[in-house]
């Protein structure tokens, strides 16, 4: 989780990603951020997030994103 929070903070240093739960709905993360995030996750976790999983529910919070990474890693 720490690694993920580090990646997220790299995108928007002024956002507290550990508590925010509407990252996409509130427009904090836009499509460019999301794709940058996917490539960073690929580099750090060796997990590829497929396009069909790029939905607001999976990117609205660090917890949701971590759950997605774990699910994909499990699969």
């Amino acid at each position: 989780m720490e690694k993920l929070l580090e990646i997220l903070s790299g995108l928007h240093p002024d956002v507290d990603f550990s508590t925010t739960t509407d990252l996409v709905d509130d427009g904090i993360l836009d499509s460019l951020d999301i794709v940058t995030l996917v490539t960073e996750i690929h580099a750090e976790f060796d997990v590829t997030i497929p396009a069909e999983e790029i939905v607001p529910e999976n990117f609205n919070s660090a917890d949701a994103l971590m759950a997605l990474i774990e699910k994909l890693d499990e699969e």
């Binding site: 794709v35 490539t39 580099a43 396009a51 069909e52 790029i54 699969e75």
Partner: protein, 529 residues
Amino acid sequence: MLFTSYGFIAFLAVLFLAYYLVLRKWQWGLLLAASYFFYAFAGLDCLIFIFLTTASAYVIARLMDRGHRKEAEFLDQHRAEMEKEERKKYKATQKKKRFRILLLGLVLLFGVLAVLKYTGFALLNLNALLGAFGAEKAFSVPDLLLPMGISFYIFQTTGYLIDVYRAKTVAEKNPARLALFVSFFPQLVQGPISRHSDLAAQLYAPHDFDRRGFTSGIQRILWGYFKKLVIADRILVAMRVLVESAESYRGVYVLLLILLYSAQIYADFTGGMDITIGIAESLGIRLKENFKHPFSSKSTKEYWNRWHITMGSWFTDYVFYPLSVCRPMMKLSTFSRRVLGAKIGKRIPVYLATVVTWFLTGLWHGAGWNFIVWGLLNCLVILVSQELEPLYAKFRKSAPRLTSSWGYGKFMAVRTFLLMGLIRSLDCYRDVGLTFRQWGSMLTVWNVGDFSRGVMTLGLDLADWIILLVGCLVMAVVASITAKTDLRERLYDKPILSWVIFGTLLIAILLFGAYGVGYDASQFIYNQF
């Protein structure tokens, strides 16, 4: 049949009446008949294309759906006896099979669009290239039929196929129902590009007459006609002069063209959307909003989240994301990080996908270099803004009072409005070289002194300019009110005020609509894309 024709008004009146009189279970069938009747006016050839699109999408979606069901059944039956790796392999094989079916569907549908829309453009460029190498012969450029709204319904249908592939929606079992989803007439001309999961169930559900919804829909239709007929079509007259005699209208007139075209396309496109969404609302169907006060945007990125939203989200979900996260792009990401370092390397795949997406967005708008350059310039502005973001953040931090002030916000909105208007003028001149020369003339030709005389040579008299100014002012005031509150909802409980406002609107359309001598109620701008 134009939305702005008397025939269409009569068609709507008959449809509304029949829709609420027939048995509720026949309503969707009636909508399908009405949609095909409406589309038949565009030509019988067009009907064939939409029918074939529907038929192919039906078969492709059903095949993919069957694949999903088979996979689920197989896994249910054999889950216990299968190892994790085995399951993974089986799923991957099934996915690959479905992907091949999807690919076939996409090639078929986009192939038709590509041949009809881009053959002429491709051959013209090929001829120019061959000519540059001294070839004497050239390919003859065919004048192919471009069915009305094909860019919109092909996108909606391919979106449906991709959603079925991704199991985000279930394939329609009844081909007639799918035919209605593809051809629903209010959105056939210029969108919005709907998702199957948002629209389909609403189309097939029975709808009781709801006075509130019906009234609200009719009011929105009226507002759309006001924007289209009183503002957009009046500006069209001046735009024709400014574009057709571009060499005579340089300098300050280019700025005038930018402002006029911004008002025209906004009134035309959002007016068309008001009519479309209003018709659907009167039928008890809610379509997605396609605009959210785009001219209040403080950045290009924000502008594109507010302008033609359904097209933007189509490109994001079905082009940008899949392209950015596909395997070759992930390999490129790893490679570029290794070679260029994490800071620069991570940008390569993202920026590459952005450029491709904007190139395609430009191409979708039309087969011409002006559209491609338009797309790429939008992309350039977005990427430069992205790169400058740390600088902006520093500025915001160092001057928090200034950057959070009302004036600074307005300055950012005006800046974005002018920048988008400037790039959008590529739509008008339809020639990249001419557009750039016209832009340059704003700095080199100083003809402000001639403006008051010249502006009266654009085909509009003083009364027209006054109507335009008042019309734009009304449009701006309504936009600023509706940004904060649902105006029609608030007016519903004030019937007298409501009648006065919408009665005045109707009278304004009848009196000031640009369909008198010398004018033609014209087709919507986005219908040509």
